[in-house]
């Protein structure tokens, strides 16, 4: 069962051709990593899945992006509903200027859930699944900014998980964190993959190798190679991939 499917996707920022004819299928409940040098289009591609690029003036897309068989760029698609099902974690921790509890409850509240007991239960579940519950359970009322960077990032993961998305997009989630926090996030990705499909953009090839089942290598707006992570890292088909993973460029 394919969760996400992209067909002949071309994407432009104004006149800049950022993504060129990309086709990919992402299976349910797997972790897929996008790797590639800076500016290769991997983040742009990731942000197509929850229509985050809609916010950029002059952005244009041709081709189809399907989630659960539904074209998300079709007319009449409710973007808010789409984004409820497709969570996102960003490069830098970006908690809201609210308490820890309210940060996690935010997604539930904006989607109209008022039942306090339900929210409390969901917040606890989300924080537990983000391996943060034990660290914050006594200070839920405190500001999210009181947490360390790594804790903040896990809070952002909990925030995304609280609405129980079927897809979780992660845009270099550990690039601003120290090694210990990074290890925690990676552990978390493995655990969460049982509940949700995860697409992760990363700069670190080791990270891609550690957490993902499948890896796609992007270069200059094209998807050069896509396959089982093991195969990409041990026996890539294309020379560009080989050069990149062996550190000859990028």
């Amino acid at each position: 069962m394919n969760k996400i499917e992209a067909k002949n996707v071309d994407f432009y920022y104004g006149t800049f051709h950022a993504l060129k004819g990309i086709n990919i299928t992402i299976p349910n409940n797997e972790v897929v990593a996008f790797i590639g040098p800076s500016g290769c289009g991997k983040s742009t591609f990731l942000r197509l899945f929850n229509r985050m690029n809609d916010l950029i003036p002059g952005a244009r897309l041709t081709g189809q992006v399907l989630i659960d068989g539904q074209d998300i760029y079709e007319k009449g698609v409710d973007v808010d509903v789409l984004r409820r099902g497709v969570g996102m974690v960003f490069q830098r921790p970006n908690p809201f200027p609210k308490s820890i509890f309210e940060n996690v409850a935010y997604g539930l509240r904006v989607n109209g859930i008022k039942d306090k007991d339900f929210i409390r239960q969901r917040v606890e579940e989300a924080l537990t699944s983000a391996a943060l519950w034990n660290e914050v359970k006594d200070k839920l009322k405190e500001s999210a900014y009181a947490l360390s960077g790594g804790q903040q990032q896990r809070l952002c993961i909990a925030r995304a998980m609280a609405v129980q998305p079927s897809v979780l997009l992660m845009d270099e989630p550990a690039s601003a964190l120290d090694p210990i926090s990074t290890a925690k996030i990676e552990e978390l990705i493995c655990e969460l993959s049982s509940q949700t499909t995860i697409v992760i953009v990363t700069h670190s090839m080791q990270q891609a190798a550690r957490v993902s089942n499948k890896t796609a290598f992007f270069y200059l707006g094209e998807m050069v190679e896509y396959g089982e992570t093991k195969k990409i890292f041990t026996n890539p088909e294309k020379e560009a991939t080989q050069n990149y993973i062996t550190g000859r460029f990028g």
């Binding site: 929850n50 969570g87 830098r92 970006n94 809201f96 200027p97 935010y106 904006v110 989607n111 900014y145």
Partner: protein, 397 residues
């Protein structure tokens, strides 16, 4: 060589900083010392005394009582706790009606005697006369003078700075006028300012905000007298018609003009604050399925709340200290306002209007400095509030 330039530059900066600070402190010191002088002024105009008949045992009169006596609002000494006798007001001019020039003498040398004579003859008399004339006279009762009490100034409900024989400096009408006008100005300006800044920062297409923002900033540069003129020509008649008022000059007219003047500040500062809200913060909210509007009021506005507060406070600061426009449209009646549709008078307008006619060093002059001090404290309090609010927001972050 480089080192020398470095040292000289540092000296210059230190010196200019030091000089500026000292000058500011001197100004504040001057303000305070002039204002404090008011409380050393006698109640009755300097050089004059109030003379009573010997029979009359009233010994202390407040400025307000004196004013009521001379306005003939108090007509019997009973009302002041004295004996039951009618009040007879006597001023220096009355002397000319009672006596011929010869009797008084060419140089008024007999005036003192004649005054004393009148005072002795009339049991209920109160005479307001120059001190030099009656100093030597016996058998009259001079009311002992005292200095203006602080309480009467700070809690006084009447402002008659030019009343004779004793001016009244109750600042409450002016203070309440200022606060009242500013309060309504902010009440009007805040929702509009916030709405416009949200529109500019979040909703408007870039082309629109590119044009609109400089236009709004331009409004900041219009001199306040022009706003006052506009208020006088447009807002005042409009209010008079809509609310069917006897006069259109009212607190509301002042508030509207001030709101208009505070708007550009509120808009530009809070719009900047909202634009400074990081994009990822917005995206995080949208990525959770929040609508644009939910993102604005649940994330963008709370994030920029300290910027918005400082915009609002700068706006209030302008409203509280604004002089000219308010002077032109509020009607300047120094009474404690009971509704916003009445004429009222603010502290800065009072200073501007009265400083020209107050003799330097006199009680009136000093009372205007006192008003300045009070204005200073109002803005000080407002600024401290901002500091506290933004400091609290910073620790939250």
């Amino acid at each position: 060589m480089k080192k020398w330039i470095d040292r000289i530059a540092r000296r210059i900066f230190t010196l200019s900083g030091f000089v500026t600070s000292v000058v500011i402190l001197l100004i504040i010191g001057f303000l305070f010392s002039e204002a404090a002088g008011l409380f050393r002024q006698p109640i009755v105009e300097e050089g004059y005394v109030l003379a009573l008949n010997k029979e009359n045992d009233v010994d202390r009169l407040s400025a307000e009582q004196i004013k009521q006596l001379f306005d003939e609002d108090i007509t019997n000494w009973k009302e002041l706790g004295g004996k039951d006798m009618p009040v007879k007001v006597f001023r220096l001019e009355d002397l000319d009606h009672l006596y011929t020039e010869e009797e008084l003498g060419a140089e008024y040398e007999h005036a003192g005697e004649k005054i004393a004579e009148q005072v002795r003859q009339t049991p209920g008399i109160i005479a307001f006369v120059p001190k030099v004339l009656v100093e030597g006279e016996r058998d009259i009762h001079l009311v002992p003078d005292h200095t203006i009490p602080i309480k009467d100034v700070l809690l006084g409900t009447e402002w008659y700075p030019t009343a004779t024989p004793s001016p009244i400096f109750g600042i409450l009408p002016l203070l309440s006028g200022t606060l009242w006008v500013s309060f309504f100005a902010i009440l009007i300006a805040l929702p509009f300012g916030l709405a416009i800044s949200i529109y500019l920062a979040e909703v408007a297409p870039p082309a629109v905000s590119k044009v609109l923002k400089p236009v709004i900033e331009l409004l900041n540069g219009i001199p306040s007298v022009v706003y006052g003129f506009f208020g006088l020509a447009v807002i005042v008649p409009l209010l008079q018609q809509t609310f069917n008022l006897p006069v259109g000059e009212s607190g509301l007219a002042g508030s509207l003009v001030l709101a208009l003047m505070a708007l550009p500040t509120i808009i530009t500062v809070s719009e900047d604050a909202m634009r400074n809200c990081p994009r990822t913060m917005r995206e995080a909210s949208l990525a959770l399925g929040a609508t644009h509007w939910q993102t604005i009021y649940k994330v963008v506005v709370p994030y920029s709340v300290s910027g918005i507060t400082s915009g609002v406070v700068l706006g209030i600061g302008r409203a509280v200290g604004e002089t000219m426009a308010v002077l032109m449209v509020t009607g300047n009646a120094a009474v404690i306002p009971t509704s916003i549709l009445e004429p009222l008078r603010t502290i800065p307008a009072t200073i501007a209007a009265e400083l020209g006619e107050a003799p330097a060093g006199g009680a009136h002059y000093q009372s205007l400095f006192l008003l300045g001090v009070i204005l200073f404290f109002i803005t000080l309090i407002i600024n401290s509030c901002v500091e506290i609010v933004s400091a609290r927001n910073k620790t939250k972050r």
